[in-house]
């Protein structure tokens, strides 16, 4: 029995036969070509390159379709490198000037880069050596026309073990048979992590070298919660894990069974579960998981990683896609929510002074930036309103901190509506307008906002950050950042009560609503609308269907008496496991 500790990147347990992915070997002919053949060989290289680009684009599109945008984006660097003009020139020079056969030229040039990368002192850069090898393999496969290696043609379930998984290897694996992944290298943000999460199968990375001690067919256990890999487990260990595996399977089967059922408490109170999405494709998953609508459609993806502003039409298409997927279910679109430090300089006139943002979290961001850059804001609003003619659209403003901001933003909406009406462009005049409550000032003054909004949605991530003065990306203080913070919970209780007294629907869309640990507390505080990540819908629904409102109120009342986040979290976990022992694997 061999036990290895790695980094847990995708949760769950897998038990199966090991399939060790070796590095593919190619016979690179060590030959020179005839001087008269140069042109023909360069032509051959170019068409192989074109074929490789095509193949990789196809793989990327397939992965995007099946696993979503985030998984697909891991191919972009490869595509970019493959289309590198300098790389092509270097290879073609070796062919034309030194009469290398294309295969040999490809290997030579890419190995030169690989050697440089391998020696780089920074591990993130050194890891790129795998991309270089992957590109070499792609090109050689394209040149030599070798069939795909047999390891990719699976016909029984396996646990895939590898030094590292390159994106194209991942794309070529038959996903129906992969139960789990283990890689010797890699970290939390790596390819394996992204793909495994996309597939929803357990994975552990960064175990260090161990493949030498494993043979294909050995029994392997992957514990994706604790980051453990056990090769050839002894009887007792195997038994223990089989039981855990069965418990997880049973829970998952149960979660699947309740997919079509409402999130109703034992005493008949209806809870509404909506989905949070970042990319349009995710709407589909929300629907599959039983979401009643989209409670938060983040629109930042439209702006990121590009050097020009998205056009109104791009906005419109992105909204239309989600609306069409969701049918008659509501879709809440949140307007632009980024900081000035995140967007290209050319978008904003210099005189705004935004380039001196020493504290971007407290700076010109989100609705503040939108109100200062009206053409950008208006084009997004036009697109949202046009989409309102097609489906049930709601508009939500982020980071409202003062009443005048809300009024200004609503004024812009009214103005855009007039513009559309004059132009005879259809839209829905009654489109509900709401705001995020994520700045303490707004939570404190909430009663004054209520007459002017159709709904509110509490953003606990920012609310926590601003209430506690903690930057959650700062390692030194991140331990203070907990959704179980009593100050946050008290603020939530007030906010929910005030909204209810004012007769305004209130939802919650921060990370807190996606964790089943907090479901009872939130129901107890009076929350009925949860907006959660697609994957969390079944678990949260399971909790809703297993409790009574009275039970939840008791839990909330108890929590309101407590004073520190650690105790509160431990208590909530304990209460949840009392009712649902199968949730005991939650961290």
């Amino acid at each position: 029995m061999l036990r290895l500790q790695g980094i847990a990147v995708s949760s769950g347990i897998a038990i199966g036969e090991a399939m060790v992915l070796g590095r593919e070997k190619f016979d690179v002919p060590d030959r020179l070509i005839d001087g008269t053949a140069v042109e023909r060989e360069i032509e051959r290289f170019r068409s192989a390159l074109a074929k490789a680009v095509e193949e990789l684009s196809r793989q990327r599109d397939a992965v995007i379709r099946e696993l979503g945008q985030r998984s697909g984006s891991i191919f972009n660097a490869h595509l970019e490198i493959l289309q590198d003009a300098k790389l092509r020139e270097d290879i073609e020079n070796l062919i034309s000037e030194r009469n290398y056969a294309p295969e040999r030229a490809v290997s030579r040039i890419l190995h030169r880069y690989a050697d440089v990368f391998r020696r780089l002192p920074n591990p993130n850069f050194a890891e790129r050596v795998n991309d270089v090898y992957d590109i070499e393999k792609l090109l050689l496969r394209s040149l030599l026309g070798q069939p795909h290696s047999e390891v990719f043609q699976l016909n029984s379930p396996v646990v895939v073990l590898a030094v590292t998984l390159t994106p194209s290897e991942t794309a070529r694996l038959d996903r129906r048979f992969v139960r789990g992944f283990v890689t010797e290298t890699g970290g939390p943000g790596g390819h394996t992590a992204i793909v495994a999460q996309g597939l929803g199968i357990p994975a552990v990375v960064g175990t260090g070298p161990f493949l030498g001690e494993v043979s294909g067919g050995d029994t392997v256990i992957v514990d994706g919660d604790r980051g453990l890999v056990i090769v050839n487990p002894d009887g007792a260990t195997l038994q223990e894990y089989r039981e855990q595996y069965r418990a997880i399977e049973a829970l998952q089967a149960e979660l699947r069974d309740i997919r079509g059922l409402p999130a109703e408490t034992l005493d008949g109170t209806r809870i509404h579960l909506f989905g949070n999405i970042e990319f349009p494709q995710e709407a589909e998953t929300c629907l599959e998981q039983g979401a009643e609508g989209i409670g938060l459609y983040r629109t930042e993806f439209l702006y990121l990683g590009r050097t020009t502003l998205p056009s109104e039409e791009e906005h419109y298409q992105a909204y239309l896609q989600v609306i069409q997927t969701m049918g008659d279910r509501p879709v809440t679109i949140r307007t632009f929510d980024m900081g000035a430090d995140k967007i290209p300089q050319d978008w904003l006139p210099r005189q705004m002074g935004w380039d001196n943002e020493s504290n971007p979290c407290l700076g010109l961001r989100s609705i503040r930036l939108a109100l200062r850059h009206l053409p950008m804001f208006r084009s997004q609003l036009r697109a949202i309103l046009r989409a309102s003619a097609i489906g049930r659209v709601e508009i939500m403003f982020p980071l409202i901190a003062t009443l005048p901001e809300l009024r200004q933003a609503k004024f812009v909406v009214a103005d855009v509506m007039e513009e559309l009406a004059e132009a005879g462009i259809p839209f829905r005049r009654e489109t509900p307008i709401g705001m995020m409550v994520e700045v303490p000032s707004t939570a404190i003054m909430l009663d004054r906002y209520l007459p002017e909004v159709d709904f509110i949605s509490i953003g606990t991530n920012d609310l926590l950050q601003y209430t506690l003065a903690v930057d959650r990306t700062n390692r030194n203080v991140v331990s203070l950042y907990s959704s179980a913070e009593p100050a946050l919970i008290r603020l939530l209780a007030q906010t929910i009560r005030t909204a209810q007294e004012g007769g305004v629907p209130v939802g919650l869309c921060g990370q807190m609503s996606s964790s089943p640990i907090y479901t009872m507390l939130l129901i107890g505080l009076g929350l009925r609308n949860f907006s959660v990540t697609a994957g969390a819908i079944p678990e949260v629904k399971k909790v809703c269907r297993s409790v009574t409102v009275a039970q939840c109120r008791d839990v909330a009342n108890h929590v309101m008496e407590m004073e520190n986040a650690r105790d509160i979290r431990a208590y909530l976990r304990e209460e949840l496991v009392k009712i649902l022992p199968e949730f005991s694997r939650l961290p």
Partner: protein, 114 residues
């Protein structure tokens, strides 16, 4: 009019001049007519260890092999009719942290701004 321009660029984003950042630089270079060469310099003005010392701004592989990390300085040299404009755009891109931080923090923390 052909002209040459040079300027120091400081890498301030956490990931350094990584794949996505290099990709953006390449796209930027393709938008201009000038050529761009990046040269790695250290505090004392000499070249620092690890990786290539110069990189073609149109090659992602080249730029990656510079291994330019957070805090490093690069000497950017542009040559062509719009050399100055190219460097200005590059500087702006670097000061905007290659538009990347948002991606990184999104994926690590789940929901970014809810």
């Amino acid at each position: 009019m052909e002209s040459k321009a040079r300027r120091k660029i400081r890498i301030i984003n956490r990931a350094g001049l990584h794949a996505r950042a290099a990709t953006l630089v390449r796209r930027l270079v393709l938008d201009y007519q000038s050529r761009l060469v990046l040269r790695k310099i250290s505090e004392d003005g000499s070249s620092s260890g690890g990786g290539f010392e110069t990189a073609d701004g149109s090659s992602v592989l080249d730029m990656l092999s510079l291994c330019a990390l957070q805090g490093d300085e690069l000497l950017a040299e542009a040559e062509g009719p719009d050399a100055e404009e190219l460097l200005q755009a590059l500087e702006s891109l670097a000061s905007r942290k290659f538009l990347e931080e948002e991606f990184a923090s999104d994926s690590e923390h789940g929901s970014p701004a809810a």
